[in-house]
């Protein structure tokens, strides 16, 4: 017979063992979620400096996202391999993920996540046999780390005709964003105090030029409750009036570009409106790089010396950057609404940053319509104010309409705000106040 004290001792050590094991497992999960093993990546990556073009693209096909290889093969683009980098989120976000790991749960109702507090809600690697893996990835994208507020002080969009190889329009914007909830770094944490409708985050955009659109402003408030429709308003300078946007407008070409409001940030819609399917994990070349090491160009001379990533390839529709091997989760999103202009999006979501850096977008008939490329820089190799922020800095975007042979390119000067952004900067009244 075992003495009670010995039984207690066994119980004690068993608890300690399992706790320790769980902690080790959790630590592994966190490490796996946010770290990048550069040695491993180097071992499977083409040599930095390698050029992939139409002559050798067949040799690298397995490293290229769908359609990208075809575009290279057609001579539209060639890509240069860069050295792998790791963009680790801010420690506060990692700590929050560790603290709350395992607490967030998906409800049976679509678009509802329970008990989410902070950090990455589902840091565990996705599994193909998990029917909810796609939804979890979608929520990870929604709550991915980004600084709690951000500004794009100089933001240039160019509409390009790929047949005529000419620029049709150039738009310049100011943009900003603010997280109202689930904040990690900027005080107040975790939420802004005056938020009666429980807005999760807000995006603001103001057209600086061209003259016919000057002063047009867009405000989107995404609700914490994903079952609620986002609120969107457009300030029309030509009318001096704020007009509420119907959701149809968020799935329409924004200001005539090849980009929808729903395409902002990769996917700027409700999670519940899509069927999310995890399609597997792949090591693939994605547009991650160090901004300062790219061949930069001057656009609208910046007094602080900042220069922008440029474009190259067919009609200058492709970012002039280096690509690197990244672990990516392939995520398919199919709209439930049959009136939606798309049949699906196929995202390549970077596993470390949870940013959808590449996507194929299919029209209603199922034909490939657009290819989206979103280039991210390490914050420490970007504008000095971004150093240490841990935020993957969105630097360049190409949205290429394969069918119409047209593209929209975006250049960013993304910054941690120099002046604290407030809730009142993201209200309908602010649109009027900033208008005339």
């Amino acid at each position: 017979m075992i003495k009670p004290t010995f039984k207690a001792s066994i119980f004690f050590w068993t608890v300690i063992y399992f706790s320790f094991s769980a902690t080790l497992i959790q630590a592994d999960v966190i490490e796996g979620a946010f770290s990048a093993d550069l040695d491993e990546i180097n071992s499977i990556s083409p040599q930095p400096g390698t050029i992939i073009d139409q002559n050798n693209v067949d040799s690298f096909e397995q490293l290229l996202a769908p359609k990208l290889g075809e575009l290279i093969k057609e001579g539209f683009y060639s890509i240069k391999i860069g050295a792998p980098i790791s963009i680790k989120p801010h420690q506060a976000y990692i700590d929050a993920t560790a603290e709350h790991i395992g607490t967030a749960k998906l409800d049976d109702k679509p678009g509802v996540v329970l008990n989410y507090t902070a950090g990455r809600p589902f840091p565990e690697p996705p599994e193909l046999d998990d029917p909810k893996a796609g939804d979890k990835l979608a929520w990870n994208m929604r709550y991915t780390y980004a600084y709690d507020s951000g500004e794009i002080t100089d933001f240039f969009w160019q509409y390009r005709d790929m047949h005529k190889e000419k620029i049709e329009r150039t738009l310049s914007f100011y943009a900003s964003s603010l997280r109202f909830m689930h904040r990690h770094v900027e005080q107040p944490v975790p939420a802004l105090p005056r938020n009666p409708s429980e807005v999760y985050n807000a995006l603001y955009l103001k057209v600086i030029s061209p003259p016919d659109l000057r002063g047009t402003q867009l405000l989107i408030q995404r609700m914490e409750d994903d079952t609620k429709q986002e609120q969107a308003w457009l300030y029309l300078a030509t009318h001096r009036r704020v007009r509420r946007l119907a959701s149809g407008q968020t799935t329409d070409a924004f200001l005539g570009s090849d980009i929808m409001i729903e395409d902002f940030l990769g996917y700027n819609g409700r999670i519940k409106d899509q069927r999310w399917t995890y399609k597997g994990t792949q090591w693939v070349l994605l547009p991650y790089f160090n901004h300062n090491e790219m061949p930069l160009v001057e656009v609208n001379h910046q007094q602080d010396g900042y220069r922008f990533v440029g474009f190259t390839g067919k009609a200058d529709c492709f970012p002039d950057i280096t690509w690197q091997m990244r672990k990516a989760y392939i995520l398919e999103a199919e709209p439930y609404d049959e009136r939606h202009p798309l049949s699906k999006r196929l995202f390549y979501v970077d596993a470390q940053t949870m940013q959808p850096a590449f996507a194929n977008i299919y029209d209603r008939s199922g034909k490939l319509w657009k290819v989206a490329i979103a280039g991210f820089s390490h914050p420490d190799a970007h504008h000095p104010v971004n150093k240490g922020s841990g935020t993957p800095m969105i630097d360049v975007v190409s949205m290429i309409d394969i069918q119409a042979m047209h593209c929209t390119t975006l250049q960013f000067k993304a910054m941690v705000p120099r002046k604290k952004l407030k809730e009142t900067d993201f209200t309908v009244q602010a649109l009027r106040a900033k208008g005339r």
Binding site: T238, R241, R244, A246, S257, D258, D363, V428, R436
Partner: protein, 694 residues
């Protein structure tokens, strides 16, 4: 219009565009090095060709907008100054001077349906001094030397003939001088409708300093709790509404309808005013996602809507034409078709009124008291944008108040050959039998007499608005409602021919982006509809013993629907659109197709048309049968010689009485039933805009 004429106009236009492009190639927006001063603007050329009338607008316009941001100072975190300068030259008065300029107008003829629609020259009507059948003998007629038969136009002649069915079927016709007021001052209303040719050509270069379209200072004072108060002081536009084309709440600034009737963008047609605006921005407060309180005070002198003046190509409701005609009637006398009724021969006869008998005497613009203002509570509550509004101001639309002293054209020294009217045995020939002291040229009060002063009464508005999104319909909705008190309406049952009434106006707007894949597989179309309602709450519609209607001559309840259909092609560089509007009461509509071509980031070309359909002219009681000059104006139904004898209770008794409503016509009050669409049936136009923005 012949080909030579067209070539001449077109070549001028091409020259204009060429000049514009040459000039603008060196113009671009400008920003200071420190980014605190920004200057931009546009130059454009607008050509409107009106079917049957030729060029109605050939406008060259330049606008410069600037903003200067200052450093935070003291309590203010943000201080900036903004301005807009605008200058316009409208060549329509030179290019088409025989329609709208100093050669416009012609001689005119008064008409008499009682004489088989006989036309008689201006000032030579059947009813004039010397007419042997005129009761009292009379002092009718006017001086053709000072009020000659030139440079005139029949009001509403653009809409076709007035009603002329039978001896008593003829409606009233008034005649307006058409030439700019420096060329022909007849009928010009000082301070209101008195523009010279240069002021028509260069509308911003007036005493109101319209060239300084906007100039204001913005300053924001933050509080520790995140709230802020913003002050905006200076000449500015205050935009309260959420509607297009018609205004319900967006009434703080008056509107300039002389630019292009109701079709000019409100941004361009609002008349900016000197206003002090203080806005407390509470942001998210309590249950509100956004909450703001705005107080406004208009400190600039009162400015009414610009309705356009007689002879201008755009005068809404053709009110400018009528006002000028009536102004001339008062100052100089005038011919009015079909006015006299019940004389021999039976039927309506053209009448030459002497000065100071009918018309518009004065325009009483409110004196500068800086007593106009209002407030608004605005915010977002549970995803619904809302506002509550109050405004106390003077009406921007004129009210014609009768009850001013007038002369009596019937009294005189000439004894009519026919003697006194039948049934008036005591009539002392040539004099008013009821008042022998009523002598020629004596001005005294007479009820129901169409002689007016123009007033702008105080109007108080209480209203609210909301916008919201309905997900199952994928649609955004806009709602506005406004209740006003103090507005005045023409009322033929009242001695002074007007009454006050409360009015309820509302609008519901619907906006939806919709795919029509057969037309554009990858881009939606904007569908936007609005329905406006107006209810005159104290409307009076009195049925007389003769079965006719007198009282208010506007619709008690009326509705106007609008619909916009816009497509987007070539990455929004080609924008076809159709705007339609239909006035249910007027049974008149408009369809305005247009196509915008954005040539590049600076150049834009818009080609379109504006075509009307429907009934247009509407009939109304014209107060012709009121008895303002007893016993001379008893009207046919009160004539003892009428078949069946005089209507019991109608006469005698001697006193004035209101219209008995049995004579109706298009002028002058039918315009209220026709509305701005019905009264512009002739304004079918082809329009071309070339704009360079910088």
């Amino acid at each position: 219009m012949n080909s030579q004429w067209l070539f001449k106009r077109w070549s001028r236009f091409v020259t204009t565009v060429f000049f514009l492009s040459a000039f603008t190639s060196s113009v671009s927006a400008w920003n200071s090095k420190d980014g605190t001063l920004e200057v931009h603007g546009f130059l454009d050329s607008t050509t409107h060709a009106r079917l049957d009338y030729g060029i109605s607008k050939q406008r060259m316009r330049g606008q410069v907008e600037w903003s200067k941001i200052f450093k935070p100072n003291g309590l203010f975190s943000e201080i900036s100054m903004h301005g807009t300068l605008r200058a316009t030259y409208d060549g329509a008065y030179d290019l088409n001077d025989d329609e709208f300029g100093d050669s416009s107008g012609s001689n005119v003829f008064g008409r008499s349906s009682g004489l088989g629609n006989l036309e008689t020259p201006w000032g030579m009507s059947p009813v004039s001094a010397g007419n042997p059948n005129l009761p009292g003998g009379g002092n009718f007629g006017f001086n053709l030397t000072t009020n000659p038969d030139t440079g005139l136009k029949r009001v509403s002649s653009e809409l076709g003939n007035s009603n002329n069915n039978g001896a008593f079927g003829g409606g009233l016709d008034f005649y307006t001088p058409t030439r700019p007021c420096n060329v022909d001052s007849r009928g010009c209303l000082p301070g209101y409708m008195d523009a010279t040719e240069n002021e028509l050509r260069f509308p911003e270069f007036t005493d109101d300093l319209g060239v300084l379209r906007e100039i204001y200072i913005d300053a924001t004072m933050p509080f520790d709790n995140g709230d802020e108060i913003n002050f905006r002081v200076g000449r500015q536009q205050i935009v309260w509404g959420r509607t297009d084309l018609f205004r319900v709440l967006d009434v703080v600034n008056p509107n300039d309808f002389s630019i292009q009737n109701i079709y000019e963008e409100l941004e361009d047609s609002r008349v900016p005013l000197g206003i002090f605006s203080a806005e407390y921005r509470a942001g998210g407060a309590g249950a509100f996602d956004d909450l703001n309180f705005q107080l406004i005070w208009n400190f600039e002198k009162f400015r009414p809507n610009n309705l356009g003046q007689g002879g201008q190509p755009y005068n809404i409701l053709l009110a400018g034409d009528l006002f000028r005609a009536l102004g001339n009637c008062w100052d100089n006398g005038c011919t009015v078709s079909n006015f006299a009724t019940g004389l021999v021969p039976g039927g309506n006869l053209s009448t030459d009124f002497p000065a100071h008998m009918i018309g518009i005497r004065n325009v009483n613009l409110p004196k500068w008291k800086a007593d106009q203002g209002g407030f608004r509570i605005e915010g977002v509550f549970k995803s619904v944008g809302f506002s509550l509004n109050f405004l106390s101001s003077y009406s921007q639309l004129p009210s014609l108040r009768g009850g001013i002293p007038t002369t009596n054209g019937f009294v005189g020294t000439t004894i009519p050959a026919a003697g006194c009217p039948v049934g008036f045995p005591l009539c002392p020939l040539g004099f008013n039998p009821f008042d022998p002291t009523d002598v020629p040229n004596l001005e005294r009060l007479r009820g129901f007499e169409p002689a007016f002063d123009v007033h702008f009464p105080r109007v108080n508005l209480i209203g609210g608005s909301a916008d919201f999104y309905v997900d199952p319909l994928k649609s955004a909705f806009r709602v506005e409602v406004a209740h006003t008190s103090g507005e005045e309406f023409a009322d033929t049952s009242q001695r002074r021919l007007f009454s006050e009434s409360n009015v309820l106006r509302w609008v519901v707007g619907w906006d939806r982006q919709t795919y029509i894949r057969a037309l554009n597989p990858n881009r939606t179309f904007l569908l936007s509809a609005q329905i406006f309602g107006q209810h005159i709450l104290d409307h009076k519609d009195i049925t007389t013993p003769f079965g006719s209607q007198i009282g208010f001559q506007d619709h008690k309840d009326n509705f106007i629907g609008t619909f916009l259909f816009q497509g987007f092609y070539m990455n929004d560089r080609l924008l076809p659109r159709v705007i339609t509007a239909y006035d249910i009461g007027a049974q008149a509509g408009v369809i305005a197709p247009a196509i915008d071509w954005l040539v590049n980031d600076n150049w834009r070309v818009t080609f379109g048309g504006n075509f009307k359909f429907g009934t247009g002219h509407r009939e109304a009681d014209d107060a012709r049968t009121s008895n303002s000059f007893p016993p001379f104006t008893a009207g046919p139904a009160c004539n003892p010689a009428a078949a069946g004898g005089p209507t019991p209770g109608c006469f005698p008794g001697g006193g004035e009485f209101s219209s008995i409503g049995i004579r109706r016509g298009f002028e002058p009050l039918g315009r209220f039933k026709s509305g701005p669409i019905g009264m512009a049936q002739h304004e079918d136009e082809i329009q071309l805009l070339v704009r360079y923005r910088f």
